[in-house]
Symmetry: C2
Subunit: 115 residues, 2 copies
Amino acid sequence: MTESPFETDGCRPAPRNCDPDSRVVAARLAALSHPARIEIIKHLSASNSCCCREVVDRFDLAQSTVSQHLKILVEAGLVRFEPDRQRSRYAVDHAALADVSASVAALVNSCCSGR
Amino acid sequence: MTESPFETDGCRPAPRNCDPDSRVVAARLAALSHPARIEIIKHLSASNSCCCREVVDRFDLAQSTVSQHLKILVEAGLVRFEPDRQRSRYAVDHAALADVSASVAALVNSCCSGR
DNA sequence: ATCGTCTATCGGCGATAAACGATGACCACC
DNA sequence: GGTGGTCATCGTTTATCGCCGATAGACGAT
């Protein structure tokens, strides 16, 4: 356990005495908190699996931008990546997505149960 | 009124052909995608209702920072604000929070149902 | 070997977020 | 009136986001 004051670990800045759970949830929500990424998730799941180009054609965003969004989703664990020849197959990780939904539900629930 | 191609309306930048729903969901998730704000939500619901100072004491953040976070939560409609003498009562809007949870669940569901 | 295509990454730019201190408004109380 | 506590806002600084064009790597086809 490093004694670093800030362990960014891909999360947003957090107060010192912050529940690690909150950081994890926040990081995943951050990945989902962009309209383009939500749309990309929808598109991926509708098509079962897409390559980058397919997504670029769908939305009018530059290829580099789409690649960036996909990278963020992969790093958040919401999308799985599999290189396929010169293409890249991206597919939604439904389990991870369900997990996010469960996390939010748990947060809401804890707020209601605690009164 | 300028003919701006982007009507930001308090949301993150979005591609042109973006489902408005995605923008709304994204905006709410953005409010939740910060560890400190998640912690604040938890604290508020545990205490039923808090003033700003109470939150400041709990986390080691400057009063102005906490005030800012609370403002963001209020603007996102997740927390209700009620001035009370020189204090400010902040309370979680459980209905709104449940609504966010439902939105995420709907998104996840649409991904699974669409296969 | 040389194209053309698909990707990922780099570098840069403008805009926004996040944090803080300082200031002033407001209220209660002495 | 003066004092102390609470709060929102302003202004500043720093870091990150979101987007793009350009570039380079990898692959298939000609």
